[in-house]
Symmetry: C2
Subunit: 196 residues, 2 copies
């Protein structure tokens, strides 16, 4: 069996002892894993979390977006978000990424969307957030940072489906919110687009 | 600097090329990473997701728990849950773990709790779920599987804080639900208990 039969990223050597790993189904398991025959370590791979915020300036109902200065999707617009780090909480990750990418200080206001992206082994979380001031600035991973009203959002230049879907759901909920409804929590699975 | 200064698990060798890795802060980064000086690979480590369900039998308001047949917490009771796998969604993970550990078929009814456990680099998600029948049975990772009314829950023998907190929140919401309230979504940070 080869790695192309599995959802595993390639792995050649054991990170514990440095010997070559094998691809096999361990005892009491039902999936292929990279296993070290020398030291016995099973190297599990699991999905990663990408966590971000929807920084909102309530006075004129604008949302902060960042234009990416890094690949993938260099030059496209995104909500501030990034890989969650060890030792932090999801809310700490959302606030950290918003500060790092947009220099923006926020009050977090609850989880708004959970987006499964199984073909890249990721789960994206976006928190609603109140921008505390307009003293923001692009960080090293952003070309520019700007506020957008709904009718100004560059929909054709949004970097990721999880971001465009979160923005559409957010502005939908915002309309309902003006009518007195609370913001919802939205769970969406984003599948790979296949030619049919 | 040593690994004890970081939230990283130990890593000795590059899993790409097999050479020794070094612990350093890469350019354009602000955290220590395991980096391979030979092939240039940066080996990031990120939190893992543990996903499970709260299988509920509505007729007599009982919740299904599993007694663990594996460490950690062998012999203690838990909700069915486990590490999310690559290529699946959070809901697929919750249903799979419930089937594997308890042989139970469920209808998922929405995300109920998100529990950050930053000192072990984990995020736990629990979904509300309707048990579809009572034809369940312990899987290889469970010693036994049983239904419990709230006043039967073995609180002193629950395996993990995230499970006991989720169960308490669930039964609180259940009381409110009888009064017509919808079930909530609960976000909790579980910090390491320190001697003070």
């Amino acid at each position: 069996m080869s790695a192309s039969d599995t959802p595993l990223l390639p792995m050649n050597f054991c990170s514990d002892c440095g010997k070559r790993v094998s691809l096999l189904i361990p005892a009491d398991d039902n999936r292929l894993r990279h296993v070290c025959a020398h030291c016995g370590t099973i190297h599990y791979q699991n999905p990663k979390m990408v966590v971000g915020s929807i920084p909102f300036w309530r006075e004129d109902e604008r949302v902060l977006l960042c234009r990416r200065a890094i690949e993938p999707r260099y030059g496209y617009w995104t909500l501030p978000a990034g890989f969650m780090e060890n030792s932090e909480t999801t809310e700490e990750a959302a606030a950290r990424e918003t500060l790092e990418e947009a220099g923006a200080r926020i009050d977090l206001q609850g989880l708004f969307s959970l987006m499964n992206v199984p073909h890249v082994h990721q789960v994206h979380l976006f928190y609603r957030a109140a921008l505390l001031d307009l003293d923001f600035a692009a960080g090293v991973e952003s070309l520019e940072v700007r506020l957008f009203r709904e009718d100004e959002i560059p929909w054709e230049a949004i970097a990721f489906t999880t971001v465009s879907q979160t923005l559409r759901l957010f502005f939908d909920d915002l309309k309902a919110h003006r009518g007195g409804q609370p913001f919802g929590f939205h769970s969406v699975d984003v599948r790979k687009r296949m030619r049919t």
